[in-house]
Point group: C2
Chain length 503, copies 2
């Protein structure tokens, strides 16, 4: 076989794996949007089967042999070439997957499904006892998963590395420590100032008008509805079903405009990343966003850096007022801008403001590491949660529904590896935005004119098109010229909230 | 290995095949309802892959060995046992599948997708030239498919047998001949009578009210929305995504009530069959309706024998009038009943009345046999169509859109094997309905009281619950005590239309 024939064969195999993942995504989307009650059990089995099939194909020893055969040829094309990146990333996926026994993959898929559905029923009933034994199993499975990857300085580095290539628990702790040191004084200063009046956000916001307004904005961002669509779900998400099919979901509250609007902008940010990947990478593992953290940097960039900025609303606020003639209480754009940026410690992560949000993440990261290390038992987790959120945010959940059971993550398979990416994404979003600002001309003037083209093009050129070709440190360095740093993010928060709160 | 262990292993294998088909169904449903333009290409590939995987697993020689091992044990449980039926049907599926080379399956799946999408674009543009070369390939592929099954008296019996176990071209021709001999004089007599006034069907029928009314009726039939749902599509269909997930689709015309309503009743009939199968058969090839013909007998039974009957409307017509206060022109129930049963030769099969409908089917059956036998070339098909529909129905299509391109079937993969089932279904529907009438007490009084329970229970007991356990001749014999016969159907048509037209 020539190396070209091996490359073709490898690409065919990778294409089939991608197609299995696409089918899984379609079934997952349907499960969240349209499935009738009665169909849930069969669907769990179908999803577990597709997941096993994809794992089986990825771990086929032939994949390893083909990679061995191709590597010198691919590397000769230069580290930045698609071929070299493909071999690099496919090798990483292959080696990661082959370490996990198929029986574990199957057990985990079944447990994930049971745990998720139990949580879904138990959360509204505030029934932590129902999820407790499942969460205990989840912690055991998470430790077992980490144990398949020996050789890390710290065993749970494996879980972080799976999510954020090259990141370690120690590095997360260092970044989070620095960030906390910057955030806590800012929150203290804000607390000393008068509360922002956000009453203009409440009122009569008919769902149809919310949908129309949100779709107009994300279409202007550049989200392509010809290669996607938006639906309603209880928990908003973005999902790629295949090339040309990147969907988002949102939700609406008829009595408040901000929830639905910002979740639409957030998910559109994720989706534009996926829609912006170079089509030449289709059918390969490169045809996805780099990592959860880099992905989150894009959703937060469009949601917050753009969507909660004053220039953005100078253009869009008159349009919002037109869309909702019976609401907004005659508030001016400054009042509205302050309202959507109100800082107030609260119980729910996904509803938290930009400043206190990261404390929610740190709380979860620390607790999940404590669970994995056996320093906190699952039975004691609700108390540990309450203690910590009181200490960090000064609020106390009256029940577990809005406490330890509020996020799906711990009830959806694995503990450890997910939460840190939310804050890493926030940190990166400001660093990317600052670099774009240096490059695209007067970004504020563009946003103020409803003009997103230059920003979107910069992001496409520097991030989107590369897919998974580069690791997070590489992409940060390539796009911004610097290493990952919390400085731009803290600078952004201090400037913005200093102005809003007159600090 | 004990025989029980082999049985368990076989059932696990069959379960995975069913789950692959369920995933395929979910992707197909999404393709018809929600997919964005951009996602069509990736979806075709995903579907072809799942189809290949299911074929690969079904044709695994291990399946044959397990069947050999189990057969004596299963047969010892009696021909009517689930185990014996499972072995019988799985063996038939296995032997049919192993005759078809995987490369052909793949080629056919790709061709089907291309052909379907070409037809979808070409039909509105009336562009037969665009589909002609594809249809020529379809005819070749259909002949090739038939050639994999030697040993039939007539080569294209294979295609009929695949769709309707045990049916032959000769038998279809005999039945159709007898039926035609009964239908033509009936149509002649109806033509000699004054036209029925169906103007009450046109008017202002808001879509939301149509949906609500249709859902109320099919819920009363017994269609379970907890294990299904209804959506809108260009072409209505029923599809099973797995146990507890049997979906229907419909469409609406805001200016006419009958199109949407009867398509909802029709698809609900299909769906109730699938929902009524014994859960003990789940995960096996028995967990589906017997054949397309028996399936159609259930959709037509609920659509026509029930839904176009006078007793049915004695209960529902006051409710219809309430739902549409601005329509129906004050027509009484008799007028409405005559309107929905108006006989008038027309161009479009799916809009045809009960009496002329079967001539549409016969036309297609004869033409597809002529195509397969090489008696009509694809290039000459539009002319042959026009000639035949003029001769049979006295109408002439002005274009191919409403002529040779009107149905998807010839553009969706295989020519031959699909159309006869529509008329076989009509014939069976009357035979089943007559048998139910003999058994359930005063059926007309029940329908007139909006009471569907006794009929539905009879159908569940005699048909639905068995799934594919029995062949069509077996199920007809078991349910009605007699062999398939056109007599009940012709009797039904003559009595009903005799009364409507005063013959």
């Amino acid at each position: 076989m020539t190396v070209e024939a091996d490359f073709t064969q490898l690409k065919e195999r990778l294409q089939a794996i991608e197609d299995l993942h696409g089918a899984e995504a379609a079934l997952t989307w349907d499960q969240a949007t349209h499935i009738p009650r009665g169909g849930v059990e069969a669907r769990a089995r179908q999803l577990a089967l597709l997941s096993s099939l994809a794992h089986e194909r990825l771990t086929d020893p032939a994949v390893g042999r083909l990679l061995d055969s191709i590597t010198p040829w691919a590397e000769a094309q230069g580290a930045d070439s698609d071929a070299a990146a493909l071999v690099r990333v496919a090798r990483r996926d292959y080696e990661r997957a082959t370490r996990v026994p198929p029986a574990f993959v199957h057990r985990l898929a079944e447990h994930t499904s049971t745990s998720y559905h139990t949580w879904e029923r138990a959360r509204p009933e505030n029934d932590f006892a129902a999820v407790r034994p499942l969460l205990e199993t989840t912690v055991e499975l998470s430790r077992e998963l980490a144990s398949f990857y020996p050789g890390y300085a710290y065993p749970y580095d494996a879980l972080i590395d799976l999510a954020e290539d090259g990141m370690t628990v120690q590095e997360v702790r260092r970044l989070f420590g620095e960030l906390r040191a910057g955030l806590v004084p800012l929150i203290e200063k804000i607390r000393s100032r008068p509360e922002v009046d956000d009453s203009c956000l409440d009122g009569d916001f008919p769902e149809g008008a919310q949908r129309a307004f949100g779709e107009t904005v994300v279409r202007a961002f550049g989200y392509d509805f010809g290669r996607g669509r938006q639906d309603k779900t209880a928990h908003p998400f973005m999902i790629k079903l295949g090339r040309g099919d990147v969907r988002i979901t949102t939700r609406y509250r008829a009595d408040c405009v901000s929830d639905g609007l910002f979740s639409t902008l957030h998910e559109a940010g994720h989706a534009m990343y996926e829609q912006g990947i170079d089509d030449a990478l289709d059918g390969t593992p490169l045809f996805h966003g780099t990592t959860a953290g880099v992905h989150e940097s894009q959703s937060r960039l469009w949601e917050n850096l753009v969507g909660r900025s004053l220039p953005f609303w100078e253009h869009w606020y008159p349009r919002l007022k037109e869309a909702f003639p019976n609401a907004l209480n005659g508030a001016g754009v400054e009042t509205f801008y302050r309202a959507i940026n109100k800082v107030a410690p609260s119980l729910i992560r996904v509803e938290a403001d930009e400043v206190t949000y990261n404390l929610h993440v740190m709380l979860r990261f620390d607790l999940e590491m404590a669970l994995l290390e056996g320093k906190v038992a699952v039975a004691d987790l609700p108390d540990a949660w309450r203690e910590r959120i009181r200490a960090d945010l000064g609020v106390t959940p009256t029940d577990d529904r809005d406490g330890v059971m509020q996020d799906v993550h711990w009830y959806g398979g694995i503990v450890g590896g997910a939460f840190q990416s939310y804050t890493l994404g926030n940190v990166m979003s400001a660093q990317f935005f600052a670099a774009a600002r240096r490059s695209v001309g007067d970004l504020d003037a563009q946003l103020g004119a409803g003009e997103f083209g230059p920003l979107r093009d910069w992001l496409t050129r520097n991030l989107y098109r590369h897919g998974r070709k580069f690791t997070p440190p590489e992409i940060v360095k390539r796009a911004t010229g610097e290493r990952l740093s919390i400085a731009p993010y803290l600078g952004y928060l201090n400037t913005k909230y200093g102005a809003i709160y007159g600090l």
